[in-house]
Amino acid sequence: MNVSEMAPVQLADVFVEMADTLVDDFDVIDFLHVLAERCVQLLGVSAAGLLLTDQQGALQVVAASSERTRLLELFQLQTDQGPCVDCFRTGQPVSVTDLPSAGRWPRFTAAAADVGFAAVHALPMRLRKEVIGALNLFDTNPGALDADKIRIGQAVADVATIGLLQQRAIHRRDLVTEQLQTALNSRVLIEQAKGVLAERLHVDVAEAFTILRGGARSHNRRLSDLAQAIVDGTEQFLPPTASRPR
């Protein structure tokens, strides 16, 4: 089945879902996670992640379709080398259909091979002339993404940018920096909360994220608010299945 037969309905659903999410005071980190997950479904890739500039020239992962530790590390490797870095610097999509034979970014290629990825694509997150990050797609099978999928991927990257920056009307670059810094700090906060839950519930950090996100959704709370409460200790947060006396 090719994209033109399969994707339009799904794509429309995703954009409706996104539009529904983009209301006042929405949960930006959760929104970016949903986008990463939908990317995987829409484009038929194996994994997706969103990386944002920390404005010191480095990229930081802010959301991913899976919180597997090795996947996160692969995104994180791209603080200094890799397709996302190139995409971010040039503002142009980067597509590598077969990583080993491309012979670029030796450390990144080795790490990607460890996780089982053969192809990688990076699409810029652009705000007017500025590039604020990249959407990173991985596939276990070598090969190109067809033009339709690239277009859809770029549309998702654009939606992510809009979502990230829409909390205030962005008319100055200063505001972009403020928003990016805040989003990146939320991500740090979530990592800390993952650690608290992993230790308290005796689970690994990837599972801790699933529990955290499930908790935020079922209690209708923002991921970052719940994470803050967990790290501060104002919220014990023991899910029913894992409840036990401390």
């Binding site: 920390d54 404005q55 010191q56 020239g57 480095a58 930081q60 992962v61 530790t69 996160l72 994180q76 100055r172 670059r173 200063d174 505001l175 920096t177 403020e178 928003q179 810094q181 805040t182 990146l184 700090n185 991500r187 740090v188 906060l189 979530i190 990592e191 800390q192 909360a193 993952k194 650690g195 608290v196 839950l197 992993a198 230790e199 308290r200 950090v205 994470a227 803050q228 790290v231 501060d232 200790g233």
Partner: protein, 234 residues
């Protein structure tokens, strides 16, 4: 690194302290003054460093009025205010904006010193002329603010940490595993996030290891911090 070289030069052979970092920041950002306010738990903010009378006065205004970019930065994230006389600013900070302007400040750049859930305080930069920061100034300011955060954390362990000449490990933009380990140590030791991170940093320093390697051991459950004694390998 060039920035760090300038910081060390300011320290003039002594131990690098917050004021040396802030002095470099003032020149890198092209501002006139700066201040660092620490906000601990429920206690009111305390200015631990002000570069001059103006900075000290505006910090006092922030504390007294309970409003301004610095207050919002602590709560929400960076506030880069190119001109306090903008209508927006006068609406947001109706008392602070005119008062700070009268004190001779037109632009304020307030950066929270935070690492995820850990909120240490705010670093405020002040300039008497309106105008923003360019990209290079901004990136210098962010990296140096991160250094100020690291120094604040390391102060708790000052005797053991940071002999001269070393750039403290970054406080903020870090490998995710460092933040995950912080969360785990919070539970292992029953301490706050700030103390957990301080303990991790101290352990890394004492054992001459990279923070991220120590953190990876904690997350992989090869290393555990025990409230009764020092961390032990499993």
């Amino acid at each position: 690194m060039q920035l760090w070289g300038r910081v060390v030069a300011h320290a003039d052979g002594g131990q690098v302290a917050i004021e040396h970092v802030v002095e470099v920041m003032i020149s890198a950002a092209g501002v006139d003054a700066a201040a660092v306010a620490v906000v601990l738990d429920a206690s009111p903010r305390e200015t631990i460093y002000a570069s001059d009378q103006v900075a000290s006065h505006v910090e006092e205004l922030t504390l007294t009025l309970g409003e301004g970019p610095s207050v919002d930065a602590f709560a929400d994230g960076p506030e880069l205010v190119a001109d306090l006389m903008d209508a927006d600013c006068l609406t947001r900070w109706p008392v602070f904006a005119p008062a700070a302007t009268r004190a001779g400040v037109r632009a304020v750049f307030a950066l929270p010193l935070r690492i995820g859930a850990i909120r240490l305080g705010v670093l405020d930069l002040y300039r008497d002329q309106p105008g923003g920061l360019d990209q290079e100034q901004l990136s210098d300011v962010l990296v140096l603010a991160d250094t100020v955060g690291a120094l604040l954390l390391d102060e708790a362990e000052r005797d053991r940490l940071r002999p001269d000449g070393l750039w403290p490990e970054h406080a903020g933009a870090q490998h995710p595993v460092v933040h995950q380990a912080t969360g785990m140590v919070i539970v292992q030791l029953g301490v706050t996030a700030a103390v957990a991170l301080i303990r991790l940093r101290a352990h890394a320093y004492v054992h001459d290891r990279r923070l991220r390697d120590v953190a990876a051991d904690v997350v992989a459950r090869r290393l555990r911090f025990d409230p009764e004694d020092s961390p032990r390998l499993l």
